[in-house]
C-alpha cells in the first residue's frame, strides 16, 4: 500500500517506547500493520537521516549479538511532532471515514 509522506511518522512511532536500529524499525512497522504497509527498506535510512538532521531523532552506536549497530532514539522535539502528527491523522481519518461511510 502506498503511504508516501507518512514514513517519518511511522518511524517515530516505532521508536517511541525504546530506541531501535534500522532493521528492527522496518520489521516493527511491517508487523504492526500486519504486512499492509510493505515499503522498500532502502528508503528507510534516508528518512532516518532526515529525521536526525531535523533533530527529531538522535543516533548512537550500540552492539547487538556482538555486532555494532546504529541505534535511533526519539528526542523531545520528536515526541512533540509525533503527538501533533497523531492528532492530525485522527482528524483526517475521521473526516475520510465520515465521507466514505456515507458512500
Amino acid at each position: 500500500m502506498n503511504f508516501k509522506g507518512t514514513l517519518p511518522t511511522l518511524i517515530l512511532e516505532a521508536i517511541v517506547h525504546e530506541p531501535s536500529h534500522g532493521y528492527r524499525i522496518a520489521q516493527r512497522i511491517k508487523e504492526r500493520s500486519e504486512g499492509v504497509l510493505d515499503f522498500k527498506e532502502g528508503t528507510l535510512y534516508p528518512a532516518l537521516h532526515k529525521l536526525e538532521s531535523d533533530g527529531l531523532v538522535e543516533s548512537y552506536e550500540g552492539v547487538e549479538k556482538g555486532r555494532p549497530r546504529r541505534y535511533y532514539r526519539i528526542t523531545k522535539t520528536g515526541r512533540a511532532v509525533l503527538a501533533k502528527d497523531r492528532s492530525e491523522w485522527r482528524q483526517l481519518s475521521r473526516a475520510v471515514t465520515m465521507i466514505l461511510g456515507e458512500a
Partner: protein, 212 residues
C-alpha cells in the same frame, strides 16, 4: 562483485566518500540482518540473499533519496575546500583583514575625492569597492551565528552585492546580462550548494562560515 555491491554502487553514486561509507555500513548491516532472519526461517542461502536484496528496493530510487539528505561529492568539496574567504573571516585573526581595511578606507576616500572632482564613474566604482570590502570586514563583529540571524545576514549580503554592482556600473548594470552572469552566477551557484548543505546538516554540525 556481489549483487549487494552492485546495489550499493548504484545507491551511492554521486555521494561524498564519507556519505557513501555510511550508506555501505548501514545497508550492509540491514542486508545481513535480513539474510540471517530469512535463513533462520528455513530459506536456503541463495534465496535468503535474493529476498534481502529485493526488500531493499530500487537502488536508483534509494540514491535519489540519499542525495536529498546526505552530502554529495561537490557539497563535501565546497564544505572542505570552498568558501575560503568566509572561513578566513570566521577565524577572527586572518592576516588579510588589515590590507582589506586599508583598501576599504583608501577606496572610500578616493571614491569621494574622485566624485567631488567630477570623475563620477571612477568615484562610484571606488565607493562600491570600499563599501563591499567594508561590509565583509564587519562580519566578525556581527552576532550572526544563529539560523535566523544567518538568514537575515545572507539577505542583506545579496542586497549589498546588488547595490555595489548598481553603484559601480550605474542603474544600467542589470541590463548587461553577461555582467550579471559573470559576477553573480558563480556566487549564486555556491549559495545554492551552501543552502543544500545547511538543509542536510543539523544546526550543531554547521561550521561558522555556513551562517554567512
Amino acid at each position: 562483485m556481489t549483487a549487494l555491491d552492485n546495489w550499493l554502487e548504484r545507491a551511492t553514486r554521486g555521494l561524498s566518500k564519507e556519505s557513501a561509507a555510511e550508506v555501505r555500513r548501514e545497508i550492509g548491516d540491514h542486508y545481513e540482518s535480513a539474510r540471517e532472519t530469512a535463513m533462520a526461517a528455513g530459506a536456503a542461502a541463495e534465496a535468503a540473499e535474493r529476498s534481502a536484496l529485493i526488500a531493499l528496493g530500487d537502488a536508483k530510487a534509494a540514491n535519489r533519496q540519499y542525495r536529498r539528505v546526505l552530502l554529495t561529492s561537490s557539497e563535501a568539496w565546497l564544505l572542505r575546500e570552498g568558501s575560503s574567504e568566509a572561513k578566513a573571516l570566521c577565524t577572527g585573526n586572518s592576516w588579510f583583514r588589515w590590507p582589506v581595511l586599508v583598501l576599504s578606507l583608501f577606496a572610500l576616500a578616493a571614491g569621494a575625492a574622485w566624485y567631488r572632482a567630477g570623475a563620477g564613474s571612477l568615484g562610484r566604482l571606488a565607493l562600491a569597492i570600499g563599501i563591499g570590502a567594508g561590509f565583509w570586514l564587519a562580519v566578525p563583529l556581527l552576532p550572526v551565528y544563529t539560523p535566523v540571524r544567518g538568514r537575515v545576514f545572507r539577505g542583506v549580503k545579496w542586497l549589498v552585492q546588488a547595490g555595489t554592482l548598481v553603484l559601480a556600473f550605474g542603474p544600467g548594470a542589470f541590463r548587461m546580462s553577461w555582467l550579471i552572469v559573470l559576477c553573480l552566477g558563480s556566487l549564486a551557484w555556491t549559495e545554492w550548494k551552501r543552502a543544500a548543505i545547511r538543509r542536510k546538516l543539523s544546526v550543531p554540525q554547521w561550521p561558522k562560515h555556513l551562517y554567512l
